[in-house]
């Protein structure tokens, strides 16, 4: 995320990582559109491609509602691509007009250096990595939550001369850098299943 012309820090709401009921997911974003003071909202299924069908028919309407409310919208890619259909989904994402936030590097490659955002699941641990991603089209980078302040400062210092200083995940469960095979939810928040 870049500093805007007023130098005001920007606030982004990431994608819902849990499997919420479709109506709850839609209504949550409608309320965000109408009431929340955030600059950008990221939509899309990140965790598992088998969940995509629950919300994919709602995304266009939610994106339109958010945009009408003056909020920026990004569409996130999957955090792990292992199947041909998932790779095709990444390429479809790269071809559509809404800004993309990549969650892993095959989606970054699919962007073919078109401007895009990099989400916090991509391991950007140093300034050199941030520089390479920026040269390949990344206009904003949300750093992984496991970085210490010294690393954040070093990356930000190197990026400050560029138009895209990094963002930091401020509130949320830390997602591991690796997806492991598992099934049942150990913690089931209200509204999820």
């Amino acid at each position: 995320m870049a500093i805007d012309e007023r130098g005001t820090p920007r606030l982004t709401l990431g994608p819902v990582l849990y499997l919420w009921e479709p109506e709850a997911w839609r209504d949550f974003h409608y309320r965000i559109a109408d009431e929340a003071d955030v600059d950008t909202v990221v939509l899309g299924e990140v965790v598992c491609s088998k969940r995509q069908h629950f919300h994919e028919d709602l995304i266009a309407g939610v994106a339109e509602r958010l945009q009408q409310a003056g909020k920026g919208v990004r569409l996130a890619s999957l955090a792990l691509v292992t199947l041909q259909r998932e790779m095709r989904a990444s390429h479809r994402l790269a071809a559509q007009p809404i800004e993309v936030e990549v969650s892993e590097l095959s989606a970054h490659a699919a962007m073919l250096s078109k401007p895009h955002a990099v989400g916090p699941l991509v391991n950007v641990y140093n300034a050199a990595t941030a520089r390479v991603l920026a040269l390949r089209g990344a206009t904003s980078i949300c750093l992984p939550p496991e970085l210490p302040l010294s690393s954040i400062a070093a990356i930000a210092s190197a990026r400050r001369r560029s138009p895209s200083p990094p963002a930091v995940l401020m509130l949320g469960s830390r997602a591991g850098p690796r997806i492991i095979a598992s099934s049942s939810a150990a913690r089931t928040p209200m509204g999820s299943k």
Binding site: M1, A2, I3, T8, P9, R10, L11, T12, L13, G14, P15, L17, Y18, L19, F28, I32, E35, A36, D37, V38, V47, C48, R51, A79, L80, C142, P145, E146, P148, L149, S150, I152, A153, A156, S157, R159, R160, P165, A167, V168, L169, M170, L171, G172, S173, R174, A175, G176, R178, I179, I180, S182, S183, S184, A185, A186, R187, P189, G191, S192
Partner: protein, 97 residues
């Protein structure tokens, strides 16, 4: 997921493994701004995210003290265990006020 000592450890979200604690850097905003960070991100949780966004915006605008904001966040997100250990070079599940 708990350890053999019944300590909260991980949360499984389908195929995704997450921390059982919720990273909260609301009290660390001045340090992050000083480090050159200009964008901040919230991950949706099951609580009033409109009110959460308002708290972060007020701290980002220097209209609210970070410690007071964290206290209000605890009231908004009852039951959550906050962490910021990684930011301070500590074990990730810890929270430094």
């Amino acid at each position: 997921v708990t350890t053999l000592d019944e300590q909260r450890f991980l949360a499984l979200n389908g195929v995704q493994t997450m921390s059982s604690t919720v990273q909260c850097l609301l009290g660390d905003i001045p340090a992050l701004l000083a480090a050159g960070v200009s964008g901040f991100r919230l991950s949706p949780q099951v609580c009033d995210m409109v009110a959460v966004a308002k708290l972060f915006r007020e701290v980002l605008g220097s209209r609210l003290d970070g410690a007071e904001a964290v206290a209000r966040l605890r009231e908004l997100y009852v039951g959550a265990h906050f962490s910021n250990g990684f930011l301070h070079g500590l074990p990730g599940h810890m929270y430094r006020a």
